[in-house]
C-alpha cells in the first residue's frame, strides 16, 4: 500500500514537472487539446 502511494506521488510530480515546463498559454492549449481528445475517445466507445 505504502509503495502504491509512493508510486502515485512520484507519478504526480513527474507529470507536474513535465507540464510546468510549458508557458501559461501552452499549458491551457494542452489542457483543451487533451479534453477534446478524451471526448473523441468517449464518443468512439
Amino acid at each position: 500500500m505504502r509503495k502504491k502511494i509512493k508510486r502515485n506521488r512520484t507519478e504526480f510530480f513527474k507529470n507536474y514537472k513535465w507540464f510546468s515546463k510549458f508557458s501559461p498559454v501552452e499549458k491551457l492549449k494542452i489542457a483543451k487539446r487533451q479534453l477534446e481528445f478524451l471526448k473523441i475517445l468517449k464518443d468512439a466507445k
Partner: protein
C-alpha cells in the same frame, strides 16, 4: 504575435490586461497555470464589482461578440453575483465583493487581487492574473465538488513540495 493568431479566449485575456481590468483567473484554468495537468473547458474569473471595472468587461465582451447571460443593469447594481459571457466561448464571471468558504473563511476580492501573481507568456504576449496558491485553495472551498477537493489536494502537494525545495 498578432491578435488574429490568438484564439478568442486568449484575446479576451489580452484585452483584460490592456484595459487594466481587475480580475483573477480562478478555477481549474488557474490550477493549470500552476502546473497541474488537468482538463477543462471552463474559464472562471473573479472580478472587482466596481461600475468602472464592470463597464470595461462589458466593452471587451462587445468587441468579442460575447453576451452576458444576466441583465447588465442588474449586474451594475450588484444584484447579480455571477453571470456568464458567452457565444462561441463561455466565461463565467464571479462579481461579488466578498465570498465565504465552507469552512467559514472570507475572501475579499480586492485583498486577494492585491497579492495576486502575474504570469507572463512572452511568446504569446499575454499576461494572466492568478491568486496565490492559498487564495486559489480558498476559492475552491466556496462550494467544493469532488473535482475541487481533488484540486485542493493537488495544489497542497505542489505547495508543500515547493516550500520543501526552498528550505533545502
Amino acid at each position: 504575435m498578432q491578435n488574429k493568431e490568438l484564439e478568442k479566449e486568449f484575446l479576451f485575456f489580452k484585452k483584460l490586461y490592456e484595459y487594466k481590468v481587475k480580475y483573477l483567473l480562478i478555477g481549474r484554468q488557474a490550477c493549470i497555470i500552476y502546473g497541474l495537468p488537468l482538463y477543462t473547458f471552463d474559464y472562471d474569473i473573479a472580478v472587482d464589482n466596481s461600475e468602472d471595472n464592470l463597464e470595461k468587461i462589458f466593452m471587451i465582451a462587445e468587441e468579442l461578440d460575447l453576451y452576458p447571460t444576466k441583465d447588465k443593469q442588474e449586474i451594475l447594481n450588484k444584484k447579480v453575483f455571477v453571470f456568464s459571457l458567452q457565444n462561441d466561448i463561455k466565461i463565467d464571471v464571479f462579481c461579488a465583493k466578498r465570498y465565504q468558504t465552507k469552512d467559514k473563511k472570507f475572501i475579499d476580492f480586492l485583498e486577494v487581487f492585491n497579492r495576486r501573481l502575474i504570469k507572463r507568456d512572452r511568446k504569446y504576449g499575454l499576461v494572466f492574473y492568478i491568486p496565490t496558491i492559498d487564495d486559489l485553495i480558498n476559492f475552491k472551498k466556496i462550494n467544493p465538488d469532488t473535482k475541487d477537493l481533488e484540486d485542493i489536494k493537488a495544489l497542497k502537494k505542489i505547495k508543500d513540495a515547493y516550500y520543501k525545495r526552498r528550505k533545502d
